[in-house]
Symmetry: C2
Subunit: 419 residues, 2 copies
Amino acid sequence: MYWSKFFIPTLKEDPIGTEAVSHRLLLRAGLVHMLTSGVYSYLPLGLKVLRRIERIIREEMEAVGARELFLPCLHPLELWKKTGRDQVLADVMIKFQDGRGRSMCLGPTHEEVITDLVKDFVKSYRQLPVVLYQIQTKFRDELRTRFGIVRACEFIMKDAYSFDRDKEGLKKNYQLMFEAYKKIFARCGLDTLILEADSGAMGGDVSHEFMVPASIGEDHVLLCPSCGFHSGLHGPKEEDGLCPQCRKATLTKQVAIELGHIFQLGTKYSLAQEAYFLDEDGQKKPMIMGCYGIGVSRVIAAIIEKSHDEKGIIWPRQVTPFDIEILPLHASGQDEEIVTLASRYHDELTQAGFDVLVDDREDTPGRKFNDADLIGIPLRVIIGRKNLVNGKVEIKNRQTQEVILVDKHEVIKTLSSFL
Amino acid sequence: MYWSKFFIPTLKEDPIGTEAVSHRLLLRAGLVHMLTSGVYSYLPLGLKVLRRIERIIREEMEAVGARELFLPCLHPLELWKKTGRDQVLADVMIKFQDGRGRSMCLGPTHEEVITDLVKDFVKSYRQLPVVLYQIQTKFRDELRTRFGIVRACEFIMKDAYSFDRDKEGLKKNYQLMFEAYKKIFARCGLDTLILEADSGAMGGDVSHEFMVPASIGEDHVLLCPSCGFHSGLHGPKEEDGLCPQCRKATLTKQVAIELGHIFQLGTKYSLAQEAYFLDEDGQKKPMIMGCYGIGVSRVIAAIIEKSHDEKGIIWPRQVTPFDIEILPLHASGQDEEIVTLASRYHDELTQAGFDVLVDDREDTPGRKFNDADLIGIPLRVIIGRKNLVNGKVEIKNRQTQEVILVDKHEVIKTLSSFL
């Protein structure tokens, strides 16, 4: 891909009104655009990152037997009245009456809708377990939107739901999801803290949160610097306490962001919505449910919070929008040999399976270097006249800032060995 | 993939209340589920079809230089007031006030939002042309929803937008889109009629509709049975007229469904929203816009309308959810040799790049044959005891109903030669 044919509107200056590094860099690197407070568009570069994260999530969901579907945004409010969550979530729910007088809402989550769907089809224990997931937009009427895409009115979530015959089935699916979540976050380059948590508005007994320490967080965790023990912060009394595992160490309080939350829901929804099945013994029983969410938009913000420097983003390999950026540098005007070489590298690296971006703009080397640091592609090939007279080009690692000089014929081979 | 591990809730009986064949088959084959009138979920099999169509669209959009982004569903009504379309589209627009008192609406289309985005970034003729597209959910407050996913309150569209310096640029991008649309529909197995059309609520001078004759249509076209001449039906006087090209032939009126509509918008939005750029001559000029829509959900319905028989759907190769279905048949209980062979074919065909479904349910051959006809996978491998004693299995073509007997060791080779 060529910069001039893509759409990467980087900003020369820091945007105003951003509290968080990730929010600032998302805007400045041309990844997102704000339509109105709490509502963002994903620009082509941001969408590429989103798609890479979605792909990791899909692979891990499919690996544990979850199947993808796509549920609607528009929900009849009637359905939410069955579980009483039209009241519980009243503050964040966007409601309206449609032209034919139906009370509708925009889905802030999908437990009610998936239960309604599964109960229409699943009648017998033979059809269980069923595990379904989607990646879909959610809506919340947030009064205090914050940190860009972190706490927004419209955001992208992966939500999965399991339906089982019994508690053993639920526990098995819960454990599979638990392990899948660990893999997903690890593949995104994130170290998560896993906390037993309160089930809140979701209901159910057991739940776990997947948190990443980051200044954009709105939650707190207590961490032991000696042994790595951590726990959620549920009240002021826990603050400054001792670590229960190594008695002398003091727990430190840290801000963290919640990226995932999984719940053993039990029968809350199946009872309220009459999602019954006939068991082997001929008895009518409520399905035993679990639900499993990941804030996909939040994952992007968390990655940037964790992986950046003063110059810009440093994408981990697995989620970078492009693998390699090629910078043809021109002292004045277009240098034919450099242009040709850039386009040859582009074609050969693409052929070799890499996703390659060429900054073909007629711009100064300075601007190109700054933008390359800003958008944070892991590896960079710099083609300049000074080195080219000796038959060399530079390869630069965005993270380590390490630069090596390579023979111009060895570029493909060298890069292939890196990736 | 195995049927027992997927989620394909086929219905034994026709659902009630469906006027259209496609609506009936979408429900019966377990492709979609109705949440409430005009609002549908895509089940895993339906989502696979949707993804295949989306992939064709993306490939053809990228081929003409359009870049994908993802715009929000929530729009500030303020933006729509600038173009006056809060009034023009008032009947179908879903509006609400959020918690902080902002007047918002759900996007029925995205001209206002994309213009707002592009004007923030594009300041100079050097940055033009810009062509962007998205595949995103749209919302319409339809009083009379019809034909399932055809006229719904929530539906999936591909919408592209071009921004040019001048009319020549617009015409060039319009022509590229025109050709891309022909390819997209052809690849979906659809013969489209292309009509010059009225620009309606979109505005602008020139527009073309891509229509497919189908009983679910809500438009009409006049067709000449002799020469293929066709035109839109704009008034009763045209009915029963003569074909202008072959003077003696009478035009016949036909119901058709609109799948695509492209518009040369000109400056309607850029003037109203002040989307100006500085041209080479230093003059401030409004960008010249085009917009290009495809009703993605509708494409699915149109394909089914065109490609089915009394037993079910017949998927064209390019959009089928699976390439091959394997039916292991059991007279009574599980036949080990048949189970093993089915799983071997599954693995080897998957290895060879096919998307394979095995109906591994413990069900009667009759039920399996009926469901296979219903879900309409193009090629079917039938493994039954009767043929297997002679070392043979059957390969059946869903469309032609042709059956050939093949040596059990020749299955992969034979199928590879078909596809």
